[in-house]
Every structure is written in structure tokens, then in C-alpha cells.
Amino acid sequence: MNRRRGLLAVASAGVLVASLAACGSGGDGDGNDGSSSGGSSWTLGTTETVTAMDPAGSYDFGSWNLQYNIFEQLMVVPAGESDPQPDAAESCTYDDPQQITCKLREGLKFSNGHDLTSSDVKFSFERNIAIADPNGSSVLLGSITDSTNPDKPKLADGAIETPDDTTVIFHLNKPDTTFMKVLTSATSSIVDEEVFPADKLLGDSDVVGSGPYKLSQYKAGEQAVLEKNDKYAGEREGKTDRLFIQYFSDPAPLKQAIDSGQVDIAWRTLSPTDLNDLEGNDNVNVLKGKGSEFRYWVWQLGTPVGKQKAVRQAAAYLIDREAIAKNAYDDTVKPAFSIVPPGFAGQKDSFQEKYGDTPDVDKAKQVLQQAGVTMPVAIKLGYTPSHYGPNAVDEATELKGQLENGGVFKVSVDDAEWERYQTLYKQNAYDLFILGWYPDFLDADNYLSPFLRDGGFYGNNYSNPQVNKLLDQELAETDAAKREEIIGQLQDITAEDVPLIPSWNGQNVAVATKNMEGVEETLDPTYIFRFWMISKK
């Protein structure tokens, strides 16, 4: 009897669940079945995070990549190229090193139907600078910013002129030939002045742009859904009507998701081990494009060891970058012989020219002997174990072995988590420490000014008046050939002074299922994931 009652209870529960499940029609009530009318929808998985959809509130890959697809900028860098081309602008040209005139395309509209005019362009820059969000990238707009009151930065008086609805004239406060590249970055996205507040960020789900896609849904940390913007009439027209971006908090489930086909593309960031493993999966392609990620070791010139040029040069003679790429990164990165990555105008492999491409212990000893430095030189090497991924420890270990080769150095290795690490390296806790860099825009200067001017952003106490002068010159030089020559000189001086040692350049890697098209084409040093180029067969 009791057994029968038990069975009845279980059966009732089953019926209840089934009834619950079947209580509807199976539709969503609006006839939307989730499929797109155009190209098949697809899903991108990523571990990147989104700080803000509002261009005034972000300075990170995750946010910027959505903004590149949702908004237009005046200029854009086409896939595989480095020179800016018109986007919302019909043209943008330097009148002189301190003035740029842009002419907007006729008939531009935001996805809500509002007209996009020069007034919106001015408003976009003005609010970005005025909001000065701590997570934002208004720092890139220094050439049009009035920072007299650091608590209340504002657009410099007369910095942007809008004589008519389609003309925008930028008056820069200093000669700046990189500003054209800044105009291609997401911080220069054009927003609708009728929608975005002038003094605060707009909510993520409410953003409106004029780019090839519009944001249909955003669940922070979960997913974003983009749909084709039918008001868009530019050259970046999307091939897919609807696409999904799913956010992963950890690379492990992302790897499982692409491995089992639960997402169509995995982009940023799988470990070298995961990538090697996925190479063996017949259902996916591991696609590699040129990257602009830069890893380097900084000498702290504030320490007794680091301030000795001979010591810094000796270390440069001992580095085996091929071995680091192979042993620490499974050959997923490329050896770097210059502070400026390959592909940038003016790039030259100055470290290879000066120190060769293979280690030379004799030369290292010779430099130290000539300077009267006793060997082995004791140095402290610092790295951070998780901020740059789990392979940083392998890189530090490999570097230690190379420096100790031939008894030239005696290396002690120390690590600290990212937050503490930043304080320690500025406090001279390490003689040599590892850092990484992604460019804000594709220009060689983005690898020079932040690193070389008066100690760089990392405060390594390196200061060379000649370098500062050359940096000013290249920023003001509009003749491309002359500028490239100056950039070459800067790289040569860096190789001679060795305030830092280039280690490797990363690749832009994505994993895609076999039926995805256009993914490989967007993998370039900009790290812009151009959703409009991608489709699913």
C-alpha cells in the first residue's frame, strides 16, 4: 500500500513537471522563434569583460569591441591595414600638424532614426572629456583637453569647430600626428546627443549608435545580443542579422564550449596549452593573425644594478627569444627585437642589429669586464603570476636560466600579484621586471612615448633629453618618410640604452568551427573583432 503511494507520488511529480513544461504553446508569444531572417546567427565566446557600453566609460577590449560594432568613428582601420580610412567621415585630413578637418558623409543616421551631424561629433568628445570617468579613456584625448583644473577637465576652448552640419574641425593644443589614429579608437565613437547625457554615463542597455549593429540585449557578464542596424548605410554592412556574445568568467568552460561546438567562435583568451589541444580537434580551426601585444622586461634604473648601462646591455646579449617562445609559450608568440612591433611604419629590429638574434655569452662578459663590473652580477627579477596569464612564471624561469648562462648573472626571482606588483616595481623592489602592453591605436608612437618619456608610465627612472626631443619631433612630423626615420632613431637609442628589453609579440588568435567565415580576415594587430565581416555557412 505504502509502496503504491510512493510510486503515485513520484508519478504525480513527473506529471506536474511535464504539465509545467507543456503549459504553453512553445512559442514566445510574438512569433519570434529565435532564428534570423538573414545569415545564420552565431555565437562568440570570450573571457573579456565589459566595463561600459558607453564610450565615455571604458578603456578595455571587451567594451571597445562592442563599441566598434555599435558606433561609428570618424575614421576606421580596415582589417589587415594600418592606415585609417573614412568611416562616418567622408574624409579627414591634416591641414597642418595641429589641425584636422573632417567632412561627414551625407545622410548619416543613428539606429533610432535620429540624424547624425557634426554637433553629435562635438558633443561626443566634449562629454567624454567632461565626464572623465575613472574607467574611461578620455586620457587619449589630451590634444583637445583643457586640464587647467584637473578636477574638472573640459574640452579646450575652440578645440572643435562645427561650421556646418557635416564639417568638424579639430584644433589641437600641440602638434600631434597620432590624433588621426585616436579618431579611429572606440573612445572617439560618435553618440546621439539627444540620448546620451552630457555629464554622466548612459546605462548599458540604452546605448544607441550608428554602426553596422545595434545592441538588442545586454545582460552584464552573461551575454550581449547584436542585431543588424537597418539605418546603417556605410561600407561595414553586417552579414548576419543577429549574433550573440557570451561572456565566460574562466578559460576552462570556454575551451569546453568551443571544443564541443556550444559556441561558434572562441576569441580571447585561451591558454597556449588549450590552443595546442584544440589544434587536434577536427571540428574547429585555430586561426592566427598578426598581433600587437607586446611583452617586455623593464630595467629599473633606480636600483644600483639597473642604473649600470653595461649590466643592461650584457643582459640583452644573453636573451634567447626563440627559446622563450618555444619553452614558455609553445610557439604561440613571436620573438620581438624592437620596442615597436613588426608592421608599424618605421619599425626596425634594432636589438637584433646590436645584439644579434642568438645569445652571445662572450660579448656579455666583455661588456661587463670593460665596465669593471664583477661577475656574477646579482639581480632580482620580478614577475606577476596571473595578470598576464599562467605562462608568466615559465617565462621568468626561462629568463633566469638564460641570464645565469655562463655565470654572468646570479638571478633571484620574486613574484607578486598584480596590485602589489605595480607598487613594488615602482619602489625599486626589482632590478628587472616583466610587463605587457596592448596598443590604444595603431601607431608606433603608442609604443614609444608611454615607454620612453621620462621614466615611462612604469616609472623606471630612465630619462634621455635626446629621446624626449625626438618624440616631440615624430609627433609633429607630417612627412611620413621623415617620421619613420625619427622612429627608427628612437628604436636605435632604446637598443643602445636598454631601458627595457623586448621579449615577444603576441598573435591575435581565435578558434572557430569549420562553418564560420570571415574570422581569419579580422584577426589583425588592431584586435578589433569586426562582427560585420563574419558569417556562418
Binding site: D28, D60, D151, P253, Q262, Q422, F457
Partner: protein, 339 residues
């Protein structure tokens, strides 16, 4: 009649204790976050900006104000139920709790159901068949399921199940999350309200792995608890008396021993809420579950003070409220507790 030992007085005492408990917790969280090296600005932009630019950004964010000022502002805000916005993605904390709390709730409820469905019958069976092979096997199962790290169990399940095409991450497919309107913010309930069978089944499928992983962990506790209590009950005078009255053994066990053995489970269920929330953090991380635990880890890594403070406060309130409820239920059931 003395009011000492009355239920209302007991409840009032317990509720009053909640305030200092939460205050202490908030203070500890505030201090711990500040003494740890780093801050949200350095965590996100430290590898980009110069020392001066970083200092400017911290100033704009108010992070350079004296700690005591920040502390009193924070306590004042919490006292007025203003939890503010997250620093790193500018979301109102209340929205984070609302948007992500549903996923944690459905995960923990599902895990509890599995834990009870697995733990109670196995515990009763082990106690009933003490020192037999089945008892030993169940006890080993209980110890292993409790001791195995949840991320290990979860990862193992994912590796085993992924090739079959069964969903191994998230609470639902991208399409389902897009199509189902968030009415209650508990997705499985929303699919029912939307009357969308496919979506419901999709969400149900996504719940299986994480709920089982977390449920197995909890079941180990229940197995051991129920087994021990059953053994205690079987030694009780009332059981002896029932046997002496000639009541058949199966009725003695079912009606007298089993029921009494289950009473302590109520207390333990309450205590397990804290453990479940801790386990949920790891489960959510393993299965990329969009719950509060996953969010909390993200914000801790980013040193997002306001987000961590807000979420920990929420977790604390949940644990305290459940503890108080359990105490009240216990006080109603067992008068000895009130004295």
C-alpha cells in the same frame, strides 16, 4: 506565567542580534578590502596609465579620501539601503542582486533537492542496515562526495558529458536568454510564465550538471547526519517500548525511528545554507553560471570595493535570515531551545 521562554521574546532577541552581526561583518569586509594591496583603478588601468594619471583617476573616483570618511559614508549608505553602484561596470548593486540572484537561487534550490533526494534515503538505508556492505558503501559514498572538491567533480562531469552534446555551461542557451522576458528574474520560472516549453526544457537541461555537482557535495552531509540520528533513535526508549508492545519492526522504524531521525535535519538544512552559498561560488565558476557567486569572484579580482561589499552584505543577510528562521522553527518544535 513568566514571559521567559516565550516564542515572541525569543524571536525578538534573535532579530535584534542580526543588526550587530551584520555591522561587524560589514566592517570586517570594509577593512579587509582596504588592507589588501591594490584598488579598482590600479587593477584595471595600472598597466596603461602613468603614476600621475592613475592618481587623477583615483581622485575622481574618491579613492584617495581618508578611510574613516569612506567607512562612515559606506555605513550611512547601507543604513539607508543604498548599496550604490559597482565600480568596474557601473551597475546598481541592487540590479546585480536582482539579475543574478535568480540563477543562484535556482541552483541552490536544485542542489538542495538533489541533496535531500539522495542524502535522506541513503542515510536511512545505511542506518537501517548498519555494518552491512550497503552501509559501508553508502558511508564511503557520503565521505567521498563531501570531501571531493566541487571544481574537480564539476570539471570531471563536464569532460565526461561534453562529447554527448549536453550543455555544460551557463543557465540556458543564448537564444533562450534572449527570447524569454525576465519577469521574476528566475529564468526557469520565467520560461514557465512565458509558456515556452522548449525554453523550459533548455533551462532544465542546463541545471542538471551544476545542481548535481553541488547537490552531491551536500548529500554527503545529509547521509551521515540521517544515519547517525537513525541509529540514536533506534536506541530510544520509545522504540524499545513500541517493540515491547509488539509493533511490527517495519512500523517501529518507519513511524517512530525515521521521523525522529529527521528532526535535526531541519537545523542542518539551515546551517547548510552558508555552505551551499560557498559551494555555489565554486560551482558557478566551474559551470560559468551567471549567479551571484560568479559575480562576486569577478568583483573581488577587480578589487571592486562597492560591489564586493554589497554582495557580501546580501549573502550575510540571507544567511542570517535563514539562521533566524531555522532558530524560530526549532523553538516552535522544541521548547527547550527557548530557555
Amino acid at each position: 506565567m513568566s514571559s521567559q521562554g516565550s516564542v515572541p521574546r525569543y524571536v525578538a532577541q534573535r532579530l535584534l542580534l542580526v543588526i550587530p552581526m551584520i555591522w561587524v561583518l560589514l566592517t570586517v569586509v570594509f577593512v579587509l578590502l582596504r588592507v589588501a594591496p591594490g584598488d579598482p583603478i590600479s587593477a584595471s588601468l595600472g598597466g596603461k596609465l602613468s603614476a600621475e594619471a592613475l592618481a587623477d583617476a583615483k581622485h575622481r573616483a574618491g579613492l584617495d579620501r581618508p578611510l574613516i570618511v569612506q567607512y562612515f559614508d559606506y555605513i550611512k549608505d547601507v543604513a539607508t539601503l543604498n548599496f550604490g553602484n559597482t565600480f568596474t561596470d557601473n551597475r546598481p548593486i541592487i540590479d546585480v542582486v536582482r539579475d543574478n540572484g535568480g540563477a543562484t537561487l535556482s541552483l541552490t534550490v536544485g542542489a538542495f533537492l538533489i541533496a535531500l533526494l539522495v542524502g535522506i534515503p541513503l542515510g536511512l538505508l545505511a542506518g537501517r542496515r548498519r555494518d552491512t556492505v550497503s552501509d559501508v558503501v553508502i558511508r564511503i559514498f557520503g565521505v567521498v562526495s563531501y570531501a571531493a572538491p566541487i571544481f574537480w567533480t564539476g570539471l570531471l562531469m563536464v569532460i565526461l558529458v561534453a562529447p554527448t552534446g549536453w550543455p555544460t555551461y551557463d543557465i540556458a542557451s543564448a537564444e533562450t536568454k534572449f527570447l524569454v522576458e525576465p519577469r521574476t528574474h528566475i529564468l526557469i520560472v520565467d520560461t514557465v510564465l512565458a509558456g515556452n516549453t522548449d525554453a523550459f526544457l533548455d533551462v532544465l537541461q542546463h541545471h542538471v550538471l551544476p545542481c548535481v555537482a553541488l547537490g552531491l557535495l551536500l548529500s554527503g552531509v545529509f547521509i551521515r547526519l540521517v544515519r547517525v540520528n537513525l541509529l540514536q533513535s533506534l536506541k530510544g526508549d520509545y522504540v524499545e517500548a513500541a517493540r515491547a508492545r509488539g509493533v511490527p519492526e517495519k512500523y517501529v522504524i518507519r513511524r517512530h525511528a525515521f521521523r525522529n531521525a529527521l528532526v535535526p535535519v531541519i537545523t542542518v538544512v539551515g546551517l547548510q545554507v552558508a555552505l551551499t552559498l560557498g559551494g555555489a561560488v565554486l560551482t558557478e565558476k566551474t559551470f560559468n553560471w551567471p549567479g551571484l557567486g560568479n559575480q562576486l569572484v569577478k568583483y573581488i579580482v577587480a578589487h571592486d570595493y562597492s560591489a564586493v561589499q554589497g554582495l557580501v552584505t546580501f549573502f550575510a543577510i540571507v544567511v542570517v535570515v535563514v539562521s533566524v528562521l531555522v532558530d524560530i522553527v526549532n523553538a516552535l518544535i522544541d521548547p527547550r531551545v527557548r530557555y
